[in-house]
Subunit: 390 residues, 3 copies
C-alpha cells in the first residue's frame, strides 16, 4: 500500500486540459502490464509484485502462472508475508488458513473453520496472465481483457523477435518515466554517453521542429493505442549547440543512424527503433508501483532467423547491451526522472510547467492517454479485498 | 506526539456499525492502563511513557508514584528531555524553571520569574496512579476514576495471584492487538510452536462454531466490562486440516487442555486461562502508544499459597515462561499484528474486511467497546497543555 | 520542496490574535535574508541554498553574486542537480539545455531547440543580491526591494563594524528560533554554561518584570522594524532561584555586565549587545528552510579602529568565540528549539501555549511581525516556475 494515496489540492487554481492523466497517479486500470521476467518465477514458486498501488501474488503451477491479489479477503494481510501452500494450485493464508484457488480466486476452504458459509461464496481478485517474450504480463483490472497485442507496441509480439531485458525500481511517478522516454529533446542529457561515442551513433544535441506535423496517432477500435513520433520528418537535428551565437557544445556526428522511429503506447510503454544499435529495437515499460515509484522494465528485441541467432544475441546482450545501453545509457534517464519527481509530486506541476514546441508529442500522448485509458486506478480499488462468487 | 493524528476519509463510502470503535485510533480515554512495571521506576527516578498519543511523566517520590503530562504548560516542551528536580515532589521545566507539584500538578513556582501571577493559578494534568501486582496503572483521562477493578479482568487483582511480565513495543494499532488476542481461530499461526509441542498442549488448528451461542457479555453498572468466549462450549476443535477433502495439516493433540476460557475487557486487555500451562493465567494489555503502535504488556498470574511459591514461580518465569511463552509463542502474534496493520491503517479496512462465523466474538467485543468506553482520545486532548486551578 | 507544505487544521477551535504570524510557517516574503557567507562562494562557483520552502541557485560571476530560483521553468528540475554552464553569466539546464541569463533570468537560448518561440519571452525568477559584511543577502520576493538597512538590525551595517560568523541547520521552525532568542527568561537554560562562568559574566537565572514598560517598538515608514527589550529597565534580575521559599539554584554573579540590550527585527534577526563579551555585538538570523527547519546564521560584530584590529578579532573569533559562544553557549538554544518544535509543529500550539509576564516582549514581536511583514510565503509561490518577460 503506498505511503500516501490521496489528493494534493492545487494551490494555484489552474486546471489541466487532461485531468484524467493528472489523476492517474497510480496508473491506468484494465491494461496489460509486464511484471516479473519468466525466469524469475520457477515451478512451484510464489512471488509478490507491487503494482498500481496494489500487490500481486504470482505463482507458477505446472508451468502456468497465476496472479491473484496479494491480500486475504478476511483481514487484508499479504499472503506473501509467509507463503503457505498445502495443495498445488492453492494458497493458504498464514493467519487463519483461508485457502484460495489460484486460478479462480475462490475461497475453497478455511483450515481453521472448515464449515464456514463463506467457503465457495467469496473470492479474491484474480488477474489474467499471459507469458510472452520471456515476460509475465498481467491484466490489472476487472474488465474483460483485450488481446495482449492491444497493449504492447507493434512488432513486440512478432514471432521472429527474440527479447531480453532487465527491471529497475525508479523513484519517480510512472508518467515521468513515459515522458522522459518519449521526450525527443531529452537526448541532450545523453551527449557524453559512452554508448553513443563507442558505437559511432548519430546523436544530435536536440531537434528543431520545422512546423510540419509528423505524428501518427494510432487510435483504432482494436489494436494498440499510441503515438509515433517520426522525429526526422518534422524536425531538424541540432549538432551545434549555441548560446547567444557562440558555439558551446557538439552533438555526436557518427555514421550510424538510430532511434529515428519512436512511439509510445498505452498503458505506458515506449518503442525506439532502431536502438541501441541498427538491428535492434528497445521496448520499455514504466510500470506504476505507487504514486512515487515505477518499475522501469527495459527490453531489447532482435529479429532472429535461426535458433543460433538467439544465443548469439543472448551473448551480446549479456556482454554488452545490458551494461552499456540498458544501464550505462539509460541510467542517465533514471537519474533525470528522479530529479523531476521532486517537483511533479505536487499536482500543480502539470499545470505550472512550461512545455515548448518540441514537447508537442508529449501533449499528444497525454491527450490520447487521457482519452483512451480503460480506467484510472484509485485507492478504492485497492481497499476492496473480496467479492461474491457469481 | 504521533506522526499523524487525523482522519483518513473513506474512499469507498461504507460506514461502520461501530463508528466509535473505528474512531478510537488513539484509544479510549478515562480508563486505567498499565504503564511501567514497578521495578522499572526506582525511588527518586523520573521516566517518560508515551500513551494514547500523549506523553506521561512518571516519578516515584517516597515510594509513591506520580503521573503528570510530560509537557510544560508554557511552551509544551517535554520535561523528560532534561529532567530538573530541585525539590522533592516537584519537577522543574529545563526551559524557564516552571516548577510543578507532582501530586497536584499546580504550578508552584517559576524559577526565572518568581513573582508571576500564573504561580498557583494554573496546573498541568495529573493522572491517578495505582500500583498493583507489580504494575503502575494510570488513569488516562479527566473524569472521576472508577475502581481499578473496573478496568482489569476478573481474578487479576485477587490477593493470592502473583504476577510477572514483560512489555514490548508493537508496530500496529492497539485494536489489532486486541483482536489478534481474542481471535479464537488465530491459533492457526501457532501450529508449529515449540511451546505447544514441548508442553504437550492440546492446540487445534481451528474451531468450528456449532451455532450455539456461548458468549457471556459482562456489562453491569459496576465492575469490568468484557466478553467471555468459552470456546469449547460453542465450537468444535479442528485437528485435521483439510483442503478439498484432502488432509494437509494436523493440530496438536496433546494431553494438556489449555486456553478454554478466553475473555477480553475494556479498555483492551485479554485474559486467557489456563495459559501458558494448566496452573497459570495470562493477562495481556494492548496499550495505545499512537495510531500505529501499541505496547504489548504481557503478564502471567499464578495462584500462590505460601511466600516460597513466589520465588518458585519467579524462577520458572525467568527460566521458561518468559522466553518460551511470552516471547517464543507470542512473537508470532506480534508478527501477525504488524502484518495486519499495513491494511488497517486505512479506516476503510474496518468496513471492507470480511469477518467469518468464528469472528462473532470479535463483533461482540467491538460493539461492547463502542458502547461502553468512557471516551475517545482525540488530538484536541493532546494539544491542551494547561488548566486553571479551581 | 518541503515534505509537507500545507495546513494543520485546529482541533481546538481557538483562533490566534496574530493569524498572519501563525500562517507564516514558511517565513515572510519580500524581505532580505542572509544566505551563504561570501567566502563560501568562489568566483565561477554555483551553489544551491534552500530557503522559505523554495530553492535558490547562487552563482558568482566576475565577483558579483547572482541569485535565481533553482528550478528550470520547463519541468521544474533543479539546475543544481548537475550544474552546466557553457557561457559566463548563464546557467544551462542539464535536461534540455534551457539557458538562462543569471542577471535577468531571461531564457536566452535552448540548446536542444534553438529556434523556440519561448526564447527571450520567458524568464525564471531572479532575486536581488547584496553582499555585505561577509554575507550574501538575497531579497526573497517579487516586490521592489527596500534598502538592506531596512531588514537588518541597527549598527550591523556600520562601517567600522567587522563581522564573523557561522551557520547551522536547526530542526525547528524559524519562529521558534526567533522566540528562543528574544525570550528574556530563557537564560535559565544557560545557567551552567562554561562561557558564563569562564568569562565572569553577570547572568541571572531569570528576570522579574517590574510592571514598568520598557519596550521600544521601532516602526517608522523607513528603516528596520523591530522591538528593543531593555531588560534591566523593566525587570529585576533573579540570582537566587527558589521553590516554595527554599533556595535551590544560583545565577552567575560575575562582574561583567552583558546582554542588557536585546532587540529583534523583521524578518527574523536578533541583536544582543554587548555579547558574547563587553566589546562585541551578536547579530543572529533564523532563516526559514521549510516548515520544520531553519538556518541559524550567527554573527559577531566588533567595532574596529584600524585594519590590524580585524585580524586580532579574527584570531579571537577562531580561537575562542566561535567555539565557546556560537557553539558551546548557543548549542543549548539549538537543543531547546528542537525540543519545542515537537509541540509547535501543530498550529494549535500558538493558541494553547501559556505565555507569562516575562513573555510580553514575545507578544509585542508577534504583533509587529504580523502587521509589518511584507507578505507570507505560501506553496503557490513555490510552485510558480516561470513568468513572461515584460
Amino acid at each position: 500500500m503506498p505511503a500516501e494515496i490521496g489528493t494534493t489540492l492545487s494551490s494555484t487554481g489552474k486546471t489541466s486540459p487532461y485531468p484524467q492523466y493528472v489523476e492517474a497517479r497510480l496508473g491506468f486500470r484494465n491494461h496489460w502490464y509486464p511484471t516479473l521476467f519468466s525466469d524469475e518465477l520457477g515451478e512451484g514458486e510464489f512471488k509478490a509484485f507491487p503494482i498500481l498501488g496494489d500487490r500481486l501474488l504470482l505463482a507458477r503451477v505446472d508451468g502456468r502462472v497465476h496472479a491473484v491479489r496479494d491480500r486475504c479477503l478476511h483481514h487484508g494481510v499479504a499472503f506473501s508475508r509467509k507463503i503457505e501452500c498445502y495443495k498445488k494450485g492453492t494458497v493458504s493464508c498464514w493467519y487463519h488458513g483461508f485457502t484460495f484457488n489460484l486460478q479462480t480466486g475462490v475461497l475453497c476452504d478455511i483450515i481453521a473453520n472448515p464449515r464456514s458459509n463463506m467457503i465457495g461464496r467469496l473470492r479474491i481478485d484474480t488477474f489474467p496472465v499471459i507469458e510472452s517474450k520471456g515476460l509475465i504480463f498481467v491484466f490489472m483490472g476487472d474488465a474483460e481483457p483485450p488481446s495482449l497485442a492491444d497493449d504492447v507496441p507493434p512488432t513486440f509480439l512478432d514471432e521472429d523477435i527474440y527479447v531480453r531485458g532487465r527491471r529497475t525500481e525508479v523513484q519517480a511517478n510512472w508518467r515521468i518515466g513515459c515522458e522522459n522516454g518519449f521526450d525527443s529533446t531529452h537526448i541532450f542529457i545523453h551527449k557524453d554517453s559512452v554508448l553513443v561515442k563507442g558505437n559511432d551513433l548519430i546523436l544530435p544535441l536536440g531537434l528543431v521542429p520545422t512546423g510540419k506535423d509528423a505524428f501518427e496517432i494510432v487510435d483504432e477500435a482494436s489494436g494498440p493505442k499510441g503515438v509515433y513520433d517520426k522525429l526526422f520528418e518534422h524536425c531538424e537535428p541540432v549538432f551545434e549547440g549555441k548560446i547567444e551565437g557562440e558555439t558551446v557544445a557538439h552533438g555526436n556526428l557518427g555514421t550510424t543512424p538510430v532511434a529515428y522511429n519512436i512511439s509510445i503506447w498505452l498503458p505506458g510503454v515506449l518503442r525506439v527503433t532502431p536502438w541501441p544499435g541498427p538491428t535492434m529495437t528497445q521496448y520499455e515499460w514504466y510500470v506504476p508501483i505507487d504514486e512515487n515509484r515505477h518499475y522501469y522494465t527495459q527490453t531489447i528485441g532482435k529479429k532472429i532467423e535461426q535458433e543460433s541467432d538467439k544465443s548469439d544475441f543472448g551473448r551480446d546482450f549479456d556482454n554488452k547491451w545490458n551494461e552499456m545501453a540498458l544501464q550505462g545509457f539509460n541510467n542517465d534517464d533514471i537519474w533525470a526522472r528522479e530529479a523531476q519527481q521532486e517537483y511533479y509530486r505536487y499536482d500543480e506541476a502539470w499545470t505550472e510547467e512550461h512545455l515548448y514546441e518540441a514537447d508537442r508529442n508529449i501533449s499528444v500522448w497525454r491527450q490520447l492517454a487521457a482519452k483512451r485509458n480503460r480506467g484510472i486506478q484509485k485507492r478504492e480499488h485497492i481497499m476492496k479485498i473480496g467479492r461474491p462468487v457469481e
